[in-house]
Symmetry: C2
């Protein structure tokens, strides 16, 4: 999310003379900061040695500055920013964990925050503002010049995780009748251009989008060529569009940037590839966490925040575990007769749970990446059914043998074998049909699927195994 | 991975006159192809109506062409490509599932494949070639002009999933003493430039990298300015670098492109943002699948391929499930006395498994995104321990009450309560320490963690609960 820096990254081999300490390297081989480097920063902070701290800014890129902040103790963070003053790039805050960012901002004097915000690209400013409380947002927004404030306010009015929230409102728009030469002269003279841009956008007087021109086409065209002759059609994304959908469009068409338009078709911002990389990562991350029942906690969160955020999922799991136990309870007489059933029953449930999770994970991701469509859905459901049956038979055979050898009972082998086939089939069907059904009802399959799937495999597993045993052995 | 197309994507609102059929829309609201559209394509294929099929090429982008291929039946795919002839962009093959791509290529006549490859960007060509068998690779490579062949061969010699495999070997390199004007003239006249590029790379006569110039700086500079005066330092990535590491560098510095160098420091290719988006997605995808024990299967894979790829993980799970059963077996006398234990024991194991999975998922992703470092690791381990204890106590209380009410035994409540605390603590420690240990020993934590974690929580859960019960009730 951080804006590109004016100076280009270069590998940091050592600390420049006059920098912090005399360390040969500020990084360890694992690419973490050397302890000596962090200690030197701390010492400079303690002494209030502003020159040394400012020298840091020349050495560290935005992401590294954020890394340094995270490594420091809580009270040291605002201190570092205050002492670095203008040399501190507020874009670094976008790379911090959310709670850390909120805490740091709350501890900084408002004039410093105002100065920091004035230098931010609009998408970074929105990214920082959106997590703050309304009063804190208002306080900062008051310090921003009117025009910028309106742009930020507009972005904040779009829904969370929408294209409108992620877009940059600083872009280059030119009329279609300009020549290449005039556009180049304009770019040479303008002083409020974005640090980095890859495309010019072409708009009519009402700011309605007409097309775009890629810089490399500009460069290759002669000066008298008219913009409208080299402009191409541009992918438009409505500001309300979910960021995941926007990222999908980007990937599908390998875009470098896309135009974000409001409901009236007016160009309000652009999305660029570096925003999209972050979105892709964020959305995949969300799915991973959702599948494991974890919220959007961060490494720096407190014990209390984490314990609280994990509780709901564990409660849901407790409910389903108790449900499974109730199923077992139906067969208490059977279990009392044959303790071997108690010993073997977790295997049936566990194999079903794992097979179901495999199918479900594939289904959830296939839905997220638009790989399941009306043309292959019935084939995929059928295939999962076959896979469930094949693996069910394979493990039925193995477990029948294990039960036979372990407990010397062919009947027990038969019972566990059949139960295994039934549960693996149930796992396959639950694994594919539950995510599809949730998606159909517009519930995110990543969040809700695993509860349902493991409930099915536990209940079916215990019921099939113990029920068949009760029938077979007549108890 | 597909190369950008010369013509820019535009929303498809309808089929152009003379296109396929008279459909108003070729897409449904869910953004899938309309059945009528697919049927029209099929009919044209049947009739051998090449003009209609070629008209498709003007309407569909690379990714959509791939989508159409996937929707068609297996024998129809090579037929479509043959009939479209030159109008078919082979870059579409990069968007197909691997097995589908291999099958389609095997069914096409070699001259057609050769012509298709000649038009490909080098990274797309490598992407298609790398999955083919050596003889198939060699057969296609023979048809490629010598210079291109050497570049492809070199890329294929780098390890799988390395920067060298993903790079484009078609880039613009200029000497530092050229003026901006000369570079622009060169770009205007050259006819072998990449379709899209964002940077010029500056090299010495030995092709060693000196820096790069962003196009927007070129545009804003006057013609007589010398390249070396506006060039900036460039992020170098060694060709052997793992693609995940390369993606991390890209994201950290918000790069648009990076230079790939060989061991001698010579520029051999560039990585660009659209390659990186794919890598980020791929790597997150790999972690999701690894955590669920699924290999790199694809939606189009056959029953046999899928069943076989899921088997190993299920076998591992069977082994751990049997291990857990052996632990239960130690307490068969206890279970025979108290069937309530058999009913309740899955709850203890299941809660531990879920809590462990939560912690593990967070740890695995924090390691993958470089968010766990020597500065916060002990704090995070400590925090997870506290979280485990807090949630352990919470669920101990709930389950003690449930056991008391259900079975009317305070002793059973006490036993399950203590077992719950023990297992939640074990889950927390296993969830954080196992991924850290695997990472330390350079094993991918995503692949191996969940087996170990659930083994720990199953074994500890059953052992603590049944063992405590045996002690408390003296059986």
């Amino acid at each position: 999310m951080a804006s590109p820096q004016p100076s280009t990254p270069e590998p940091i081999d050592g600390v420049a003379p006059g920098g912090v300490g005399d360390l040969d390297e500020i990084r360890t081989q694992q690419n973490h900061f050397q302890r000596e480097f962090v200690d030197a920063v701390r010492a400079a902070l303690e002494e209030g040695n502003k020159d040394t701290l400012k020298a840091l800014a020349d050495q560290l890129y935005v992401a590294e500055l954020a890394e340094l902040l995270a490594v420091l103790d809580e009270p040291e963070r605002p201190k570092l920013i205050e002492q670095m003053g203008e040399a501190f790039d507020f874009a670094a805050l976008t790379e911090l964990d959310e709670q850390m960012r909120i805490d740091v901002l709350a501890d900084l004097p408002l004039p410093l925050v105002a100065a920091g915000f004035a230098a931010l690209e609009s998408d970074d400013a929105v990214y920082i503002l959106e997590d703050l409380s309304e009063p804190a947002q208002a306080e900062i927004l008051r310090t921003v010049p009117t025009l910028d404030r309106l742009a930020l306010q507009r972005a904040l009015d779009y829904p969370e995780e929408s294209a409108g929230r992620r877009m940059q409102s600083n872009f280059i728009a030119v009329p279609p009748f300009w020549t290449v030469g005039r556009a180049i002269d304009y770019m040479r003279e303008a002083d409020d251009l974005p640090d980095e841009f890859h495309d010019l956008f072409v708009v009519d007087p009402g700011y309605r989008l007409l097309g775009y021109v890629r810089l490399n086409r500009m460069l290759r065209a002669k000066r008298p060529v008219v913009i409208s002759d080299i402009m191409e059609n541009v992918q438009e994304i409505e500001a309300e569009t979910d960021q995941e959908e926007a990222a999908y469009i980007f990937q599908k068409y390998d875009l470098t940037s896309a135009a974000v338009i409001d409901k009236g078709g007016r160009l309000v911002g652009i999305l660029s590839h570096d925003d999209i990389v972050d979105v892709v990562q964020e959305e995949a991350e969300e799915d991973i966490r959702a599948l494991a029942g974890v919220g959007d906690e961060e490494v720096s969160d407190s014990v209390r925040a984490i314990a609280r955020s994990r509780l709901p999922w564990l409660c849901v799991n407790l409910a389903t575990a108790i449900l499974a136990s109730l199923v077992i309870g139906l067969f208490d007489a059977t279990l009392e007769e044959m303790v071997a059933l108690a010993i073997l029953m977790p295997i049936v449930a566990s194999m079903g749970g794992n097979a179901g999770t495999q199918t479900m994970t594939v289904a959830v991701r296939a839905i997220a990446t638009h790989d399941l469509d009306p043309y292959n859905v019935s084939r995929v459901v059928l295939r999962e059914t076959y896979v469930g049956l094949i693996n069910g038979f394979a493990f039925a055979l193995i477990m029948a043998l294990v039960a036979l050898v372990w407990f010397g009972s062919a009947g027990l082998g038969l019972v566990i074998g059949i139960a295994m086939i039934v549960n693996m089939l149930a796992a396959a069907l639950a694994g594919i049909l539950i995510p599809l059904a949730l998606d159909y009802f517009k519930v995110d399959p990543a969040i809700a699927s695993s509860v349902f799937v493991t409930t099915v495999t536990d209940v079916v597993g215990f019921f099939a195994f113990l029920g068949l045993a009760a029938l077979w052995f007549g108890i």
